[in-house]
């Protein structure tokens, strides 16, 4: 389906589910963006879930979002159980305003929900020539190092910076060995998952996607990745007033209440300490790109580069929709 047409349909669905015109528009753009950058696990496959959560009253379609100024640099947002996209959109825009004013912008958000891809918000700050960190937590998926039960979410670390070109440097990496969405897909189509990325519910290594979903995902690099996931949980949940310590509910399976996901956005100017940031980052990237490459490697890409290229190449193409999503859309439009 054409991007613009699909966007209109998704917006209509959110509007039908009680969101304001503006909020519906924010949500549609975020979901379509995930499809364009090649992250369908964070795209339309989640549309039905969001609508289900609205119907079951665990997402508030008409939130009264409270924005509290703590200082010229710091803002707190209570999202009143809004859909995550809306809270994050308001949050990153506020962080950008603060950073433009004082050099630093810090925004803590509580009572929000899953907001999709961190990189989508980071990109907004980078486009305004700012450096940015985005942190958010997620429902239990990763076992802390030494545990046989999951507690941390896949808790992404997201860092973005302007470059000297139009292509932003955006690192948006979960700290799990494998994306939970990929395990879901493998389970659906009966595919195996790689070795060493998950344990079954008894704490034994497994390559069976269904058993992995019942069991736990492993963090990258043992205690290092476990520590990074823990750090993100503290930054997103403990500091902000959001849920933490494994209390964020699974948006697909648990409708007993709102998620209360927390987000933390930290934004800063590039020229706080030097005047020639564009020149410096250009040199930095060139020095890496010009290194001798391993056999079979054509180009050393920086984080975000391939996503940007995918987005560019997909932007004028029709968006492929699976039969499942097509059926979801049909039902949700009724």
């Amino acid at each position: 389906m054409k991007r613009i047409k699909l966007n209109k349909i998704i917006k209509k669905i959110f509007f039908k589910h009680g969101l304001s015109n503006n909020h519906a528009s924010i949500c549609a753009s975020a979901l379509i963006n995930a499809e364009l950058v090649g992250a369908p696990t964070h795209g339309l496959s989640r549309l039905k879930m969001y609508c289900d959560r609205i119907k079951k009253k665990v997402i508030n379609p008409k939130p009264k979002i409270k924005i509290k100024k703590i200082s010229s640099s710091i803002t707190q947002i209570d999202a009143n159980n809004s859909i995550g996209f809306v809270a994050a959109d308001i949050g990153i825009k506020q962080a950008i305003i603060n950073a433009k004013k004082t050099g630093l912008g810090l925004v803590g958000i509580k009572n929000s929900g899953h907001y999709g891809l961190s990189g989508y918000y980071a990109e907004q700050a980078v486009k305004k020539n700012l450096i940015v960190f985005c942190f958010t937590n997620a429902p239990p998926a990763i076992a802390p190092h030494g545990a046989r039960k999951s507690l941390f979410g896949t808790n992404p670390i997201c860092f973005g910076t302007p470059t000297s070109s139009k292509v932003p440097f955006i690192l948006d990496t979960s700290v799990s060995m494998i994306n939970r969405g990929k395990i879901r897909v493998a389970a659906k189509i009966g595919k195996k998952i790689p070795k060493g990325v998950a344990l079954d519910k008894n704490g034994q290594p497994t390559i069976d996607a269904k058993k992995a979903l019942d069991g736990v995902q492993l963090p990258i690099a043992g205690f290092r990745g476990s520590g990074l996931a823990w750090m993100v949980d503290i930054l997103s949940g403990v500091i902000t007033g959001g849920n933490h310590g494994g209390k964020v509910k699974d948006p697909f399976d648990d409708f007993t209440g709102p998620q209360n996901v927390g987000h933390l956005f930290f934004v800063m100017k590039t020229n706080l300490f030097i005047n020639d940031y564009r020149k410096r980052i250009k040199e930095n990237i060139l020095r890496v790109k010009n290194l001798p490459k391993l056999k079979g490697v054509k180009d050393i890409l920086y984080p975000g580069e391939s996503k940007y290229l995918r987005h560019k190449s997909n932007n004028n193409k029709k968006i492929k929709i699976s039969t499942i999503v097509e059926n979801d859309i049909k039902k949700l439009l009724i």
Copy 2:
């Protein structure tokens, strides 16, 4: 040797090499701390290297350190090629002052050198009830994903937060599969290194420590770790005015000029968004600790816990000194 006696000797050595009484004291404490927490690769084994760099005039023993206030929250430090310990000590103390005043403290440092363990500075902020990030870059050790030549340093990510107990949560993890110091030690004593942590100079996997030193270390988790190392290089070097993109010189091997390492410290109050941080972090840690454990795991430790326990247990014991270090000390005292 007794800790207090050893501290006096190390201080005397730095003083003899031209450092002020105060700066010599800062350096001695930092090196001894590394021994106490069980990180001897960052301790006395480096004493001779620091002194050699002073003698060869690539560390300035009498630096004129410039401290420039950018805003109430932001400070820039030009360390004038001081020994890293001194620049970092001034930097973290300034970041703490700024954060206590405005909620946020950001300090960028350039023209510094290797500062030892990030966790040592993080601990200072945590002891003042603050949350902290410390970033620093290092000489080339890790190959960017896809490259067969090293460029990024082992570039640690360090995050600290107060807990409800005296034991701080301090994650201080390099993003390499293995600590470069450990490869150095293995090479010295002729021990093999684990599989999958390094390539030789031809880009082939190796378990030979010497070949690994001539070759490259691998980042944790492929492109994820490579991206994290790249992020740390940008934060420490590109933003601050420090060296970056592989230009930080190896302190052991390269005496052609100062290192110009960059550091970035970011500190914030715990109560910006909530009032009950101690209670929240206590609950967070307890929830993780109470999880069912994998076979053979007695206790799930949070980052920094075992270092703290080692420090506590070592604090009243004599510090073991290798023959090499003993000889270094004897020569440096002459």
